[in-house]
């Protein structure tokens, strides 16, 4: 008599045979279908046969007969009409959109993105136009400098080198750079350098004022925190000559 325990051992033993002789990955779907149609070479046919034995769930799926009729009510595998209708609604939604179909999703998403872009670009254009208009209006109006600073040339004899420190909360600063002890030039130019020495602003050619100074109105937002240097150049024909530097610190 073969007991249940024996059958368990038999099953285990048959499984073990497969562990000892690994055959690789399960066959592909195409291989399995070609196998059933007898289209494989003898070697491949033998390999697929062994793999199907090794994976009985594949063998079952490949050979399971499809039901020719619906199961009657009460039978195993019967699908009630309301369940059928519910699944139909899901399927239709999935095919025709409402969040289900990929094509529908991207079509809707593209339209939404395009609409959002139109709105965003329109908004940006509107905002830019309004900002330009406001700026133009502000520039046309008188504006007071909230700070007036006279810069002292660096390296003056008898004076310790101490950069001018700007006020922390000023909106804009009038910087006045005096020309001390230099002979008169055809023209002048001012440049502002940041802490790393890079030129961040260059003036048009300037003429010396009657009080031998140059004045520039600088919005505070233009100057970042740190040390800066205003450099004065004299223009002689096509040549520029550095005449003085003025150091300042922005808090």
């Amino acid at each position: 008599m073969i007991t249940k325990s024996d059958w368990d051992t038999i099953q285990h033993e048959l499984l073990d045979v497969d562990q000892q002789h690994p055959l690789g990955d399960p066959p592909t779907v195409e291989e399995m279908l070609a196998y059933t149609r007898g289209e494989l070479s003898p070697e491949d046919e033998e390999r697929v046969r062994r793999l199907l034995v090794l994976h009985p769930e594949l063998a079952h799926a490949l050979t399971a007969p499809l039901p020719e009729e619906d199961a009657a009510p009460g039978e195993d595998g019967h699908l009630p009409p309301e369940e059928l209708t519910r699944r139909w609604t899901e399927l239709r939604r999935s095919i025709h959109g409402d969040g289900g179909s990929v094509v529908q999703f991207w079509r809707r998403a593209s339209l939404a993105i395009a609409a959002a872009l139109v709105l965003a670009i329109g908004g940006l254009l509107g905002q830019a136009r309004w900002s330009a208009h406001r700026l133009q209006a502000e520039l046309a109006r008188p504006r007071a400098a909230s700070e007036y600073v006279v810069l002292m040339p660096d390296g003056q004899r008898g004076r310790p080198h101490r950069p001018v420190r700007l006020a922390p909360n000023a909106d804009s600063t009038m910087l006045v750079a005096p020309l001390v002890g230099s002979e008169s030039m055809d023209g002048y130019r001012l440049r502002i350098r940041n802490e790393s020495g890079a030129v961040i602003w260059t003036s048009e050619p300037l003429h010396l004022r009657d009080d031998d100074t140059f004045a520039i109105l600088v919005p505070r937002a233009f100057l970042k925190s740190g040390k800066h240097q205003v450099v004065l150049y004299g223009i002689d024909g096509t040549r520029e000559e550095q005449l003085a530097t003025y150091s300042l610190t922005v808090p």
Partner: protein, 183 residues
């Protein structure tokens, strides 16, 4: 009256008629292959989505529709099983001798040495008896103990149903002779 006439004119109306006629059968195929109910519905819906995509190719042949659904359903089912098997094969394997494994094995109950000795001898005899079967007999036996029907085993091995029956009969006969009544 064919589905194409009963379904009316539009593609969607025809599709609904085909769905109502075949959906339950397709779903039953998945269920019969031990696929969980929700997943069986998902697979059945995928089958019908594929049919919907290919629908313009059909020109009113009802048999062709059912044939298409069968092939598609079987392909999806095989793909699903194969993906699961491949995932299993490539899954993480833990070495039982790994010193990092912290769990402790439960202490065995007090062994009945005589009973264990008998079971070990019996298992060895079963192993020996199975090893003596021909490869064809082992294949049939394995598919049979996994619950496949004669026709399915025959189709799997590409042999006749009579050959399946014969191999199975011989295998059982051999096992009975080797294992006998001695327990």
């Amino acid at each position: 009256m064919t589905i194409w006439k009963a379904g009316g004119g539009s593609r969607d109306e025809l599709f609904e008629a085909i769905y109502r006629k075949y959906y339950a059968r397709v779903w039953r195929l998945y269920r019969s292959s031990k696929v969980a109910d929700d997943e069986a519905h998902d697979l059945a819906q995928d089958t019908f989505k594929r049919f919907y995509e290919h629908m313009p190719q059909f020109r009113g042949e009802t048999e062709a529709v059912w044939s298409f659904l069968q092939v598609t359903a079987r392909r999806l089912l095989l793909n699903r099983i194969r993906a699961r098997l491949t995932g299993k094969r490539n899954g993480l394997h833990v070495d039982l001798d790994d010193p990092d494994l912290a769990f402790e094995l439960a202490a065995p109950e007090e062994p009945d040495y005589a009973e264990r000795e008998h079971q070990t001898l019996r298992r060895n005899r079963v192993r020996q008896a199975v090893a003596e079967l021909t490869e064809g007999q082992q294949q049939v036996l394995r598919l049979w103990v996994q619950g496949l029907k004669y026709t399915q085993i025959a189709e799997t091995l590409r042999v006749s149903v009579d050959a399946v029956k014969s191999r199975l009969r011989d295998a059982k006969k051999h096992l009975r002779a080797r294992l006998g009544d001695d327990r």
